[in-house]
Amino acid sequence: MTRGQFLTDRHERAPREQARFIELFAGARLAIRRTLLTYLGHAEDADDLLQETGVVLWERFEEFEQSRSFASWACGIAANKARMLLRDRRRHRTLQLSERAVANLAKVHAAASELHELRLEKLEECLGSLPDRDRGLLRACHGRHGQIADWARAQGRPEGTVRSRLTRLRRKLYDCVNRKLGLTEDRS
């Protein structure tokens, strides 16, 4: 039986289940995408894997216990998919991690989910404190390596300057979150 047939069978059997899945997936999509981005560090890879993850989640939806958090369940599966990709892509991608390193990341990621939530809250506060122009730069260029040059040209700024600014902003936000959590001194 092919995947398409499998999905079709489920579609015919359980329209309410589909609606429930769509609702849950829409609510968890951002968290899933961020999980993938955290592991992969590459927007296009993450978006590709998001699609595959969605299919897997639907196929395994019967396993999902309604009493649990769908986002946690889905992010766990997404993390596993990302780990597999990291192993597979050792041959042709720049990020090369061993089984051990990937396993360590997974352990920490699973154990620190609440801390990650807290860090996201702090990150929002830190973002809110940035000047408008910095937020504009992040909105226009972050995660889009190919568009930095275009944006820089349109703004009449050297591309290197824009890249440096993005790096500094990322670092500033990272330090800001750590500082708010009392983990480090402000290095900005």
């Binding site: 955290t38 639907w58 061993s98 929002e124 972050h142 670092r171 979150v177």
Partner: protein
């Protein structure tokens, strides 16, 4: 201490190193040596893993912003179509989520979950070397709005809902939208637009090409310039800024080409070789069905055993624009046709040679853009048409028995543009192949 069990107090310099390496990952500039260093650090200390994940979390949150986060409400990361969704009002958040689901899942899955949005294109033909990143992709596959189709190799021919035929040469990534538009994310294509589909638009990072009734080619590579060439008719091609807004326009007519660079400047360009490639390798085939594939490359030898096909016929585009200086009779008996002198003709060889291998008998149809002028299905007609229509780099005939036998069938259907074939297997023969040469008028 840095032990494999994980320490709560890694060395400060290791923390700084991991942060620096995480930044390199974010910037996409991690060298192999740096990656090995990162691997060593992460494999050896769980606390450093936490540092790494913390850093990458910032990257992830900025790349996938939450609409509730101050000032980072633009979530679309696509090509210039994003201008249609910029500054999305919060009141349509639910609808946006549903649309996002379509974009994320692509074709079949989204179709099932969201009650199958109508297909906007159909796969009409594949070359024998076509590789598409999808488990169940083939002739007849329906393409849903915004479904991303990744073609790793070969040629895929689509037909848009309004009738546009688009040949895409891999490696390429395209997605169709439901408004007579196609996004060329990367790759090369040829579009042939019939009158009902005028206005068909191809969108790249750099340009928006609006057809005004024509045939044109487009080439685009990610982060590079876009080349546009018009084979016939006219297009308006707009240079886009980084937000996808039109900045300037070039009206191109037959024989003209232009390149659109990242500064939205437009220059003259040369695209003849791109159009020629499609003409040579795809010809004017509109669609295949059943057991038929377009040849991946021009075969050197189509005598028995020279180009083996297992369970499908191979369609080999041959010479084009051939003008006979005297009429030529093709076929015999009731099927005899006289090819006129002075009229441009185009040729395709349909070739089937399982060569002693147990194969399935192929059947299917081939649809051509131009009307079929004659079908050479017997050995003498094939031999007689080798010289004017065959390719100079291909070996034909020789001692090979060619043509169709009793039980084989290849005939033009009533509308004159479709060849229907149903061939039998010639068991045990190592000197014969089933071949048909289809001669069409060049379409006007």
């Amino acid at each position: 201490m840095n032990g494999s069990s994980g320490s709560l107090a890694p060395r400060p310099e290791d923390v700084r190193r991991v942060e620096s390496l995480a930044e390199a990952v974010c910037e996409g500039r991690l060298s192999a040596d740096a990656a090995a260093d990162l691997d060593r650090l992460l494999a050896g200390d769980l606390t450093l893993c936490q540092v790494y994940l913390n850093y990458m979390q910032v990257f992830a949150a900025l790349t996938a912003p939450d609409e509730s986060v101050a000032g980072l409400s633009e979530t679309d990361r696509g090509l210039p179509l994003r201008r249609a969704t910029r500054r999305l009002p919060r009141v349509v958040a639910f609808a946006a989520a549903a649309c996002g689901l379509v974009a994320i899942f692509g074709g079949s899955f989204a179709a099932i979950l969201l009650r199958k949005p109508p297909a906007v294109a159909t796969v009409q033909a594949l070359s024998e070397d076509a590789e598409v990143r999808s488990s169940d992709f083939g002739i007849g596959t329906l393409v849903r709005p915004d479904e991303r189709v990744r073609i790793e190799a070969g040629v895929v021919t689509f037909r848009g809902e309004a009738g546009t035929t688009v040949d895409v040469r891999g490696p390429a990534t395209v997605s169709w939208s439901g408004d007579n538009r196609l996004k060329l994310i990367t790759g090369r294509l040829r579009a042939v637009v019939p009158p009902p589909a005028v206005g068909f638009t191809v969108l790249t990072e750099r340009a928006e090409v609006v057809d005004l009734g024509t045939e044109f080619v487009v080439e685009h590579r990610l982060e590079e310039d876009t080349r546009v060439g018009v084979r016939s008719g006219r297009v308006d091609a707009y240079a886009l800024d980084t937000s996808g807004y039109r900045l300037r326009v070039a009206s191109l007519v037959a024989g003209q080409s232009a390149v659109f660079d990242r500064a939205a400047e437009i220059y003259d360009a040369e695209t003849a070789e791109l159009g020629d490639w499609f003409d040579r390798r795809v010809g004017r085939l509109r669609s295949l069905s059943g057991a038929a594939r377009l040849a991946a490359e021009t075969p050197e030898d189509v005598t028995a055993g020279g180009t083996v096909t297992r369970s499908h016929v191979l369609v080999i585009p041959e010479r084009r624009g051939v003008v006979l200086d005297r009429p030529l009779v093709v076929g015999a008996g009731d099927r005899a046709r006289t090819l006129p002198a002075g009229t441009p003709l185009r040729s395709y060889l349909v070739h089937f040679d399982p060569h002693l291998v147990n194969a399935r008998a192929p059947k299917g149809t081939l649809r051509f853009a131009g009307p079929i002028a004659a079908v050479a299905a017997d050995a003498s007609s094939l031999d007689a048409t080798d010289e004017p229509f065959g390719l100079s780099e291909t070996a034909y005939g020789g001692s090979t028995e060619r043509g169709l036998e009793d039980g084989d069938d290849a005939t033009a259907t009533a509308d004159g543009r479709v060849l229907k074939f149903n061939l039998e297997i010639d068991l045990g023969s190592h000197v014969r192949v089933d071949q048909v040469r289809v001669l069409t008028f060049e379409e006007t």
